[in-house]
Symmetry: C2
Subunit: 163 residues, 2 copies
């Protein structure tokens, strides 16, 4: 190998440093959010993700499959997470008209209320940690860069995301 900057087998130090920085930033921000919710006697971050996704969705309804956490949590994990959130009365499960094996998760009134309690804390902590450390300009750059990787459909030859 002639130089330090081979493309296929070696990854530049810079890219590894970037990945480590991302891991660090992610961990720090998640920890911050977790602590803040706990201190306010509110449900954990995983509940927020679900409630937020539902609130953003048309009809305040979503299939468990689509509850984006798909990437972060297994299918059965989602089932039980929804069990807990439903037991707390924040969502309901309804039959799905168009596909009888699936179902719809719907945000309840209580769910909306809880979400409204959690949101300012979420955004506050985000502003104090992650978002406070960059300008709008920089945020744009960052988003543009990271969106190339994100949940996008990948074009790798062979390999499903979660077997």
């Amino acid at each position: 190998m002639p130089s330090d900057t081979a493309q296929k087998d070696e990854i530049s130090e810079q890219r590894i440093a970037a990945w480590r920085a991302l891991l660090s930033a992610h961990a720090a921000q998640v920890a911050r959010l977790t602590v803040a919710f706990a201190e306010a006697d509110l449900p954990p971050l995983s509940w927020y993700d679900v409630l937020r996704a539902l609130d953003d969705a048309p009809q305040h309804a979503m299939r468990p499959r689509d509850l984006g956490c798909g990437v972060t949590i297994s299918r059965s994990g989602m089932t039980r997470l929804l069990d807990r959130i439903e037991d707390a009365g924040l969502v309901e499960r309804r039959a799905c008209d168009t596909d009888r094996r699936g179902l719809l998760v719907i945000l309840t009134e209580a769910g909306e209320r809880t979400l409204r309690e959690m949101s300012p804390i979420y955004e506050g902590e985000l502003g104090a940690g992650f978002a406070g450390a960059m300008s709008d300009e920089e945020a744009k750059t960052l988003a543009g860069l990271l969106e190339r990787i994100g949940g996008e459909a990948e074009s790798d030859p062979a390999g499903e995301p979660a077997r």
Copy 2:
């Protein structure tokens, strides 16, 4: 509030988009690594993090406290993670001379060997996913930005990271 772009209470859409992109990118890359290790019949990502940290450390030794996972895993979580890795013979626990309540986790030969098996897969997947999507230039920008948030000591008035 006069406008949409208040500084204290509101976070710009751009910053939220950046945060979501980061979440997405993180989840995608972690999933990729997890699958790749599993398919190669290798230990999980959490083991890699420990082995890698030890290999990078002087003397191939570290205190559990410093095994950076500190941010991602609780103290007891680390205890049991080390239990498993030690049972597999990849690390050893030794008494610590300078502080008799602590101990040193040391990478064994077998641990080094396993790490050498895992590394190419780790770097390969990193290159195929995260690192492949950016230039060195961009990586530098990204790292610079994210390092402002990362594991750095924070200067918030009152609040420990994990109560």
